[in-house]
């Protein structure tokens, strides 16, 4: 054991150290990247008293097993899953005090795809433009690999006797927080008019998530609206969440790793909240798109951000009182 706290990775399959994304990237030609379920990532950091932009672990599709060298404070959020410490289950979406040498197993249930693990004090990892978010295009990032340790900035003394469990912390988190709905809210895209009446069928049809999903995009099978306007489209910046209708029988939903420009018209755009939902969709899952307005989407988004503010405040208050 070294003086510097470490999180030893006993097993990991598809996990990375990430953060909320490289927000200065798009203006310099790079994708924003970062945690695909932004709410879950923000919540994990809030629950351990970290800054919202602190690095944390994102694991996709597969669980992982971790063992800290020192006492640490962790939180697991995202895809519904119960972390287990030395084989004993503990609730997700709440702070979890882990002793040095204990084994933490984070599973991913069938109800979601991605889980987030934040550790109080966060990870010491390289950054580019202020962000540690992996970018597969430029081969930047910190993978989480079996057998390798991750450096932590701080340890954290045990907060509570775990016999009292999670009841010590009540941060007012709704019980259904990790539930993944099958409906994605979208706002008409800037090029929606080019699709004429085909746009309405986007909302009347059912779609199936294909196996072709990653951090760049999500392909969904179903009715593909066709442009009525002919001609090439000039390359323009496309937002994360843009729904494009390339030729073929699949819609493409752009995720945070997307190239920042494209020459396809933008049919509709997922709301920020729907982007978090999309991050948790699994192949084969059936979904629908539901039309909403930017005003309604912003109201829903701000409600979630205020919930995060309350969680962060309560966490900081609780830790200050306990330490």
């Amino acid at each position: 054991m070294t003086d510097r706290p470490e999180l030893y990775v006993e097993s990991a399959t598809a996990a990375v150290v990430t953060d909320l994304g490289r927000t200065r990237g798009p203006s310099r030609g790079l994708a924003v990247n970062g945690a695909l379920d932004q709410f879950a990532a923000r919540a994990a950091n809030a629950l351990v008293g970290n800054a919202p932009t602190d690095p944390l672990i994102e694991t996709t599709g597969f669980g992982l097993t971790l063992r800290p060298s020192h006492d640490v404070l962790m939180a697991v959020t995202g895809a519904p899953s119960e972390p287990a410490v030395d084989g004993r289950p503990y609730p997700a979406w709440t702070p979890l005090s882990v002793r040095a040498g204990e084994t933490v197993r984070v599973g991913i249930s069938d109800a979601g795809l991605r889980a987030y693990v934040a550790v109080h004090g966060s990870f010491d990892v390289p950054r580019l433009m202020g962000s540690c978010a992996p970018d597969s295009m430029i081969e930047f990032g910190t993978p989480v690999t079996s057998g390798a340790p991750l450096s932590l900035f701080r340890s954290h003394p045990p907060l509570v006797n775990r016999r009292f469990g999670a009841t010590v912390f009540d941060f007012g988190i709704p019980r259904d927080i990790g539930r993944v709905p099958g409906v994605l809210d979208v706002i008409d895209g800037p090029d929606a008019a080019e699709f004429g009446s085909g746009l309405q069928r986007l909302f009347d049809s059912r779609y199936t998530v294909t196996p072709r999903i990653n951090h760049v995009g999500l392909r969904v099978a179903g009715y593909v609206p066709r442009r009525s306007a002919p001609g090439e489209v000039l390359s323009r910046g496309v937002p994360v969440g843009a729904i494009e209708a390339p030729t073929g029988d699949e819609l493409l939903v752009l995720m945070r790793g997307r190239g920042i420009t494209a020459g396809y018209p933008v049919l509709a755009v997922l709301t920020s909240r729907a982007q978090d939902v999309a991050a948790q969709l699994r192949p084969g899952q059936e979904i629908r798109f539901r039309r909403t307005t930017a005003a309604a989407a912003t109201a829903a988004y701000l409600e979630r951000r205020r919930l995060l503010d309350r969680i962060a405040l309560r966490a900081r208050t609780a830790f200050a009182a306990l330490s």
Partner: protein, 236 residues
């Protein structure tokens, strides 16, 4: 300024700002001036802008800025007298190995424009190419194309991988790709220079407004230059 600005929503966290005008260069300059102003924090430090040809994608966090506030700031900017601050314009010399494995589509492009291969190379190297914007993937330099008589069609099926340093054309555009990536553009050559640097904040050594001058090199010179960092002519 003979331009008009249109703002349309792009979801709940982005706006597309389109500059409408008759002169392509005026529109492009306005787009990049507006993006520069926004990226310097004119509305809020969290607001960022992606400028291309005739449009700026403005991204924001609805927690810190609203579409209404950004739109009114942009209206205000549009009403400001257009002091035409000079766009930065450095020149980058780019050696290129044309044809063969380095440019598998060179012969095809020659056929399409109805000129011999040597003339295609001559046209590509005849002028300084203005970098119009940085595009996906990975801060590729999108420039005005060579003065070909006709636009160049894209590949029907994109290649799954073109190598780093590929020089490709499509339509009336040319692109320099810093990294290996899929591409539907016609690859005519490849530069031996190292373009991408992930240990530096700038990542690529160019910005919109810079100019690129291509110079043909043979295989021996190409091999000798492999791994040399790409940089401005005046940085010697």
């Amino acid at each position: 300024m003979a331009t008009k600005i249109e703002v349309s929503p792009c979801g709940d966290a982005a706006l597309r700002v389109t500059v409408v005008g008759t002169g392509t260069d005026d529109v492009w300059r306005a787009v990049h001036r507006l993006a520069g102003w926004l990226n310097r924090g004119a509305v809020h430090p969290t607001v960022s802008a992606v400028p291309t040809y005739d449009a700026v994608l403005v991204e924001f966090d609805p927690y810190h800025a609203t579409a209404e506030a950004i739109t009114s700031h942009i209206d205000f900017w549009d009403a400001m007298p257009g002091e035409d601050e000079p766009v930065r314009s450095g020149v980058i010399d780019v050696p290129v190995l044309f044809g063969g494995d380095a440019g598998p589509d060179l012969g095809w492009v020659a056929d399409v424009i109805g000129e011999p291969v040597a003339r295609v190379v001559e046209l590509v190297c005849a002028k300084e190419h203005l970098i119009r914007c940085l595009g996906g993937p990975a801060a590729s330099a999108m420039t005005d194309g060579p003065d070909f008589p006709v636009p160049v069609p894209r590949l029907a099926t994109p290649r799954l991988r073109v190598p780093p340093g590929a020089i490709s054309v499509a339509g009336r555009q040319l692109v320099i790709g810093p990294v290996a990536a899929p591409s539907g553009w016609r690859q005519i050559g490849r530069t031996p220079l190292d373009i991408l640097r992930t240990d530096a904040e700038a990542v690529v050594p160019y910005r919109p407004g810079d100019r690129v001058r291509f110079r043909p090199v043979g295989q021996v010179a190409y091999d000798g230059l492999l791994g040399t960092p790409m940089r401005y002519r005046h940085d010697d």
